[in-house]
Symmetry: C2
Subunit: 334 residues, 2 copies
């Protein structure tokens, strides 16, 4: 069985972007407004996603709103609140259409300079009322500008982390847009954010203080596996616990698109701390002219690793996700 822990609703009907367009055109007076998408429109927009899951033999997909769309840096808390509520409600409706196959994860009404405690109401709503099993948290709320976001290990975040522990929902630390003109959203910003948060998770005492916090770093952890000994050296020079030990406390997804990188990821992070992800549909949707296959067709990259035991492959492909996402009812397609 295969569970993919990382999918965003990138095929949503255009009414969603139209809502956002109207919302951002009237930033001075935030209102809930209306988002009208029929069930038929919603079902149609999901067809390619379900088709790809079928084609790849993926039983379940953790399905959340489009990451770049979260746009927490824009407007006020009220802006982000209405936008998050609409997105989460839409994810709820979508996942209700495919129970067990699409598993809901949410976004939060984060806003620059506003305490993360302000997100707890929406987190409780989506988890306790709508049955969401995970949540995306943007570690860079302002998109890399002032007011800067404190590192995720800063006490500023603690109220939110305590609540996700209480609700037992894993957090995917996924960046959204950036205001830095030198960064490219998919080419550098996301993976840079992954690298920074993974470094901080190892370097800080956050997971020693809150060992029950379940954190997933997307996209294979950015540069962490490649820069592994660079970071080990820093840990040793600073008298920190070894990086290898810190890495036992959180998870990386496998949203990388080379066999080469997948194998490095498995060597460096280990089967116990990896969650399969191919991100349908994200950056890697195109076909690789070198192989004739889509870049995001990566299940075989795990299955073909001949130095991995079957039990280890099973952990990566679904076992770790079953354990981590305690609230989820996954599908049973083999």
């Amino acid at each position: 069985m295969i569970i993919d822990v990382h999918g965003h609703f990138t095929t949503a009907p255009s009414q969603l972007d139209a809502y956002r367009g109207r919302q951002l055109s009237a930033l001075n007076r935030p209102s809930r407004g209306r988002l009208l998408i029929t069930d038929d429109e919603l079902r149609t927009s999901l067809i390619p996603v379900i088709q790809q899951l079928d084609d790849r033999g993926i039983a379940s997909l953790i399905f959340s709103p489009r990451a770049s769309g979260m746009g927490h840096e824009i407007g006020s808390f009220a802006t982000s609140r209405y936008w998050s509520e609409h997105n989460n409600d839409l994810i709820y409706r979508a996942t209700q259409m495919y129970p067990g196959r699409l598993i809901p994860a949410g976004q939060l009404p984060q806003s620059p300079g506003v305490t993360p405690a302000s997100c707890i109401d929406e987190l409780e709503r989506i988890v306790t009322q709508l049955g969401f099993v995970g949540v995306n948290v943007n570690p860079d709320v302002s998109g890399g500008a002032a007011p800067f976001t404190p590192p995720i290990s800063d006490p500023w975040w603690t109220p939110l982390w305590e609540k996700v522990v209480e609700l037992d929902v894993p957090v995917m630390l996924h960046a959204s847009s950036t205001v830095n003109p030198a960064l490219h959203l998919n080419g550098s910003h996301y993976t840079n954010s992954d690298s920074a948060v993974a470094f901080d998770l190892g370097w800080s005492d956050l997971l020693e203080r809150l060992p029950e916090l379940k954190i997933v770093v997307p996209h294979g952890g950015g540069s962490i596996p490649f820069n592994f000994n660079r970071i080990r050296a820093l840990h040793i020079a600073a008298g920190k616990r070894p990086l290898e030990e810190a890495l036992r406390q959180f998870y990386f997804d496998t949203a990388v698109y080379d066999r080469d990188s997948m194998e490095m990821l498995i060597r460096k992070i280990g089967a116990d701390n990896l969650l399969f992800a191919s991100e349908p549909f994200g950056t890697a949707k195109p076909q690789d002219p070198a192989t004739g296959k889509a870049f995001d067709d990566t299940v075989s990259f795990v299955n073909d690793v001949d130095w991995l035991q079957p039990a280890e492959k099973e952990k990566i492909l679904s076992g770790n996700a079953r354990r981590l996402y305690g609230r989820a009812a996954f599908g049973n397609i083999d």
Copy 2:
């Protein structure tokens, strides 16, 4: 013969930091001030560097001011100008003590929001008067805050790039400090900067417009080799030229500290576009308890690659550097 293209003067006598302390304590009235370091003090501070070059069999080291010390985000152009001049003069004196072994590269008086054309005077001084063979350019002048630095492909940078082409000096795009509290200088900021500039070099038309521009991206290119197919997929989706083709136009240094990562770097980037670097002394100075050797003791990581031809190893270890740094007179120690 081995040339290391990446060494900063991290053992400089404390008078250098003391100068900076006084300078930053009087930001409101920039003045040239005085930096007094005797020849004996300077020579003593260089002993460990030369010792390490001897121990590792490294003939020549491209030697530049401490990267984190550049601190371009602080103060005005005048602040950066006086600071750069003192640092460059000190590098000149140090390299004069070991001609052929320490090869001078400089820093520039970059300042947030100030045109890079303002750096041309200092660039011409160090190259034409002091014999510098390369220059470090900070692609993130403000350290990640407003006023943001345009991407290196932006026309904002063109006057500086045209001048380095005219003078025929390679540019190492090396970040300095950051003001973003969520980033760690050595743990995430530098390598994130490497990833962002390497992406932009491939994505933009900069090197098609200025094919003679010689660019070196440090630290193995951040996450580029690991995220290789992610970026290939983006290029394909956008109708850009293939990443592999773009990568033929610039260089990565090999300042990574795993055999694993070195081999991935060589596989992905190729022997023609790599320059050996171990960065004495940088992040990787400590000893690895797993091997009993220093992390930065990496010459063997190249020499031991059994699928590399001797001619390819020679290119990485010195041949490419000899070709690229046309102004340098390298040492002859084998």
